[in-house]
Amino acid sequence: MKLSIVNYGAGNIKSIQFAFKRLGVDAILTDNPDEIIASDKVIFPGVGEASSAMIMLKESGLDLLIPKLTQPVLGICLGMQLMCNHTEEGDTKGLGIFDADVKRFSNKVKVPQMGWNTISNLKSDLFKGIKENDFMYLVHSYYAENCEASIATTDYELEYASALENENFYGVQFHPEKSGIIGSKILENFLSL
């Protein structure tokens, strides 16, 4: 199993690497297109601000590479948001992999949402063995609207898409690498897709 984590300078990727290590898989951190293309599975992480993350992505040319990948790709947190059409954060155009728009929570709730919330309406092999309303750890101020591509939803101010799927592309808003044994099971599922 060759697993790559796309390294474009966006945030803490050590935890993701460690989470896979706990599953016995050594993930490679790389921004090398050939290495990414040659991987069996690709993780597209992201923490921080959307427009600056997109600039970093463009600088490395990875914005063109990622949508063309044919192996299973998992976007996590901001990674997932950047795979959508557009995000309100910094009015940023996304990669357009998921037909969804990303909006900011209103000030009726505390922003960022920070902590453990449940995932429901699960429909993907990514969630094999995961129960409805299992808990995941989330930290985010922007959310993907509920849409056709939704494979999980979460309630915070409104029901939004906390996971998305389109062909070989998967995205999760929550942090499976920080969500205890259940999160770890999701990463394991991804590895066996």
Partner: protein, 251 residues
Amino acid sequence: MLTKRIVPCLDIKNGRTVKGVNFVDLRDAGDPVVLAKQYADLGADELVFLDIAATLENRRTMHDMVLKVAEQVNIPFTVGGGISSIEDVDDLLHCGADKVSINSSAVKRPELINELSQKFGRQCVVVAIDAKEVEGEWLVHLAGGTIPTEIKLFDWAKEVEQRGAGEILFTSMNHDGTKAGFANEALAKLSDLVNIPIIASGGAGTIQHFVDTFIEGKADAALAASVFHFGEIPILELKKELKNKGIPVRI
């Protein structure tokens, strides 16, 4: 529904936990990694590591500890103590910390909050505020509550939010160590004033104190040290009781 978080806090000195811990079946209660794993298994939602001897020499030891925790623990954790620059934060995040907590350095140079938030995102910037109620006025204190300032708690809380803090960790020096309950009145006022999560700290003694701080104090998370370390309040029992009281928790 987003759940309320229970957050054990570990004081670290030279890579070891300092306050005693009294867990049954623990190989090495002084090893933060062993303790952290234990807490994760027991149902803690998040952990805070506070470097109480944050000297230059200790920094390497702290980095090693953070790396080991990140390697073995599968819940989020915050690291605080002696953090005063972008480089400090960069190092800790690269070692696998999820969030950093800054305190005195933010009071001394508030722009640090803006800088960190712009560079790393506000989700990883926790501003810790120690305050003491003096003659009816809540004033920010430094150095573990020993040095008073003239900064008013509520003004400062608003300012740190505006500058980009993702969360506030509020410790009442009047309540800390008393085991007589959290500073719920001030906490509720903070929660109404700012729109970022508030972690209540200082005063945990009984399960009821946690119930009160989530209901009356409107806290989003509650932090405690000794009641957890000495097994006075088992986390699972605490969470079951919170759930019985209608407070959303992860069990």
